[in-house]
């Protein structure tokens, strides 16, 4: 930590300042099967991206290629903490998260090859795809930060519908400087949205080092300003990443509000294939190469006797087989027909929009939903050290349908238009 000690919140959310890692005694709650599955996803993530790099050089991809080599543990470990009902939105370097959510290598290959068989039919590339109905994945866009408020909305809608879901997205160190990041985190915090934001600190925003963008020791420090919980984790330690994300997801599901996880990792390539990343000191690559997430996990699995050579060979053979099949599928896929260009700008009855209710609708309909529209003011401005007599000047009416997370926190005065219908004790 830096020398600056932030003022304590009245109800301090936990801010762990210790970097979590299994090497410092962090326990793994994973079963053997889960360990092997985690390894499978990480290895698949890596092998797939190495394949993509070759394809790019053979001129077989359309457009740029943005690799997450070196960041596999963060993508895979965090997404692995989600349940199928949970929602996530990947960023460009979260191929691993997409694989964990059930997408296949062919989805990523056809996206990068702009084929008609890709999830977006060739209308967009890279990781820019999603699935609202089955996998609960929101497609990212190239503009950074935009997903933070969107996933906040996902989290709020899930809570409104009684679904008990958690929303998760990722953002790079660079993306935390956007206005959308701030607006989204602040809104999520104010609403206590069940939202996990994983800040993937891969040290470089394109060519600019993190310390030249953000004058903070840890990006997790930003969480304090939003009044939300945060963790810092060794992003190349998949077990630590998973355990941390699991804890965060559980806290969210319990209604404790958003959590920010800073995962410290390293982008082991340039921003995209055209970028040789010569601005990165060689020693820095060497430092992180020595902490390669796959090497470390392989060592972990061996040292803890979780796997044997046969398990490993089986996983590798499975990956090789799956990748081969999917590559063949992708290469044999046609490009989209040109006339597709003019189609699908609007939904003209192609989708039916029906929310999935997991609570009685009457709870959000009058008369049950009706309230007395008055702010509950907890303090009058905090000039004094101790908040004085902070009880509200008004009561909230209704049938108690107002969840604690919805409590508006601060206001200034009583609204004039309040017309109480019924008074009920809170």
């Amino acid at each position: 930590m830096n020398g600056c000690t932030p003022p304590r919140h009245r109800l301090p959310p936990p801010h762990e300042e210790q970097v979590r890692t299994t090497e410092q005694g962090m326990k793994a709650s994973l079963t053997r099967g889960q360990h092997l599955e985690l390894y499978y996803y990480m290895k698949l993530n890596r092998t797939l991206e190495e394949q993509l790099e070759r394809l790019f050089r053979q001129n077989k991809l359309v457009g740029g290629l943005y690799l997450s080599l070196g960041q596999e543990a963060t993508s895979v470990g965090t997404a692995y903490a989600l349940e199928p009902r949970d929602w996530m939105a990947p960023m460009i370097r979260n191929v691993g998260a997409l694989l964990v959510k059930g997408y296949k290598p062919r989805d990523i290959l056809t996206q990068y090859m702009a084929r008609h068989t890709s999830p977006t039919l060739g209308k967009d590339g890279t990781s820019h795809f999603g699935d609202l109905k089955m996998r609960h994945v929101v497609s990212p866009i190239s503009v950074l930060g935009d997903l933070i408020p969107v996933m906040t909305g996902v989290a709020l809608a899930g809570r409104y519908l009684g679904q008990k879901i958690v929303a998760m997205t990722w953002i790079g160190d660079g993306g935390t400087s956007t206005g959308a990041f701030h607006e989204g985190m602040n809104f999520a915090a104010g609403q206590k949205a069940p939202f996990v934001c994983v800040v993937e600190n891969n040290q470089w925003a394109y060519s600019t080092p993190v310390k030249r963008q953000v004058p903070l020791e840890n990006l997790a420090d930003r969480a304090r300003a939003y009044g939300i919980a945060s963790y810092i984790v060794d992003g190349n330690d998949v077990v630590a990443v998973y355990e941390t994300a699991k804890e965060a997801v559980e806290r969210c599901r319990a209604g404790e509000g958003p959590v920010l996880i800073e995962a410290k990792t390293m982008r082991m390539r340039g921003h995209a294939q055209h970028d040789a990343a010569e601005y990165v000191p060689k020693e820095m690559f060497a430092y992180w190469k020595a902490r390669d997430p796959l090497d470390r996990y392989e060592k972990f699995l061996t040292e803890n006797r979780i796997w044997d050579a046969k398990n490993r060979a089986e996983i590798e053979a499975r990956i090789e087989r799956e990748l081969k099949e999917d590559l063949e599928f992708a290469e044999n896929s046609p490009f989209p027909p040109p006339e597709l260009a003019g189609q699908g700008v609007y939904c003209q009855g192609c989708h039916s929009i029906e929310p999935e209710w997991h609570r009685p609708k009457q709870e959000v309909m009058p008369p049950k939903a009706s309230v007395r529209a008055v702010w509950e003011v907890e303090d009058f401005g905090s000039l004094d050290q101790v908040p004085r007599g902070g009880k509200s000047t008004a009561e909230v009416s209704g049938d108690g349908a107002r969840p604690p997370a919805q409590e508006p926190e601060k206001g200034k005065r009583k609204a004039k238009i309040a017309k109480p219908t019924r008074r009920v004790k809170r």
Partner: protein, 324 residues
Amino acid sequence: MAPVTYLEAIRQALFEEMERDPSVVLLGEDIGVYGGAFKVTAGLLERFGWERVIDTPISETAIVGAAVGMGYLGLRPVAEMQFIDFIACCFNQITNFVAKSHYRWGAPVPIVLRGPCGGGVHGGPFHSANPEMYFVHTPGLKVVCPATAYDAKGLLKSAIRDNNPVLFLEHKFLYRRIKEELPEDNYTVPLGQAVVRREGRDLTIVSYAAMMHTSLEAAELLAKEGIEAEVIDLRTLLPLDKETLLASVRKTNKLLVVHEDTRTGGIAGEIAAIVCEEAFEDLDGPVRRVTSLDTPVPFAPPLEERFLPNAASVAAAARELAKY
């Protein structure tokens, strides 16, 4: 029934849609306890509760972004921009995230972004904007500009039920100035349909929102001189109802477009192009425009009066065109 203002008609639409469908929720700055800067949402928090009427921080990007996320789970959020000028803050979210969503990956965004636009109320450069054309130029959005209380209610209901993102621009000059009796039935007005407000044979005046009333006023003046203007209210700018427009031009053979938006890049240019492409041989004169000046909206009353079109300037242009 008593006549209902344009503002009250909008409130009624929100109220009735929220009663009808629990997936309709509201987001915006000061819309709950306070009831909105113009009181459009007054009383809705009391009736529908904290979960459905959400007071947000001053974060337009977060408002739109959260609405999108809610829409992805099947809700139908209606987000308010306190003044439509502030929509510039979330331009990226609307044009990049919202508008491209269905095209890119088949994810519909059933949201409505509504807010007060327009001048004539001495709001100055930051409280008088007419930003419709930024969004008319964005495939994937729908843009609605009601001119009457009846339409405001019927169009907003259609917008809420539409599976696409709709920008609903309420003209604040009209909020409390116009009133009409509304039917009691649960009517809607379909998006994308213009309407002939006044029939005439000598020329067509196409307009929308507050300028539709100015155009009608001008048509009254012209009628006294024996010039019969047909007045069309576009109601929806995107998608544009070309059929109604072209049918009228084929009848009157002359076209004047009137809008409060600034001149360069206003929808009049697009309409002129459509008519030249599709009804050139029906034109008996050049397509003419009466618009605001190509300036920010000025503050002082004499400046703003000069800035805006009025019945006299519309009538003058129409007169000249009729004579052509």
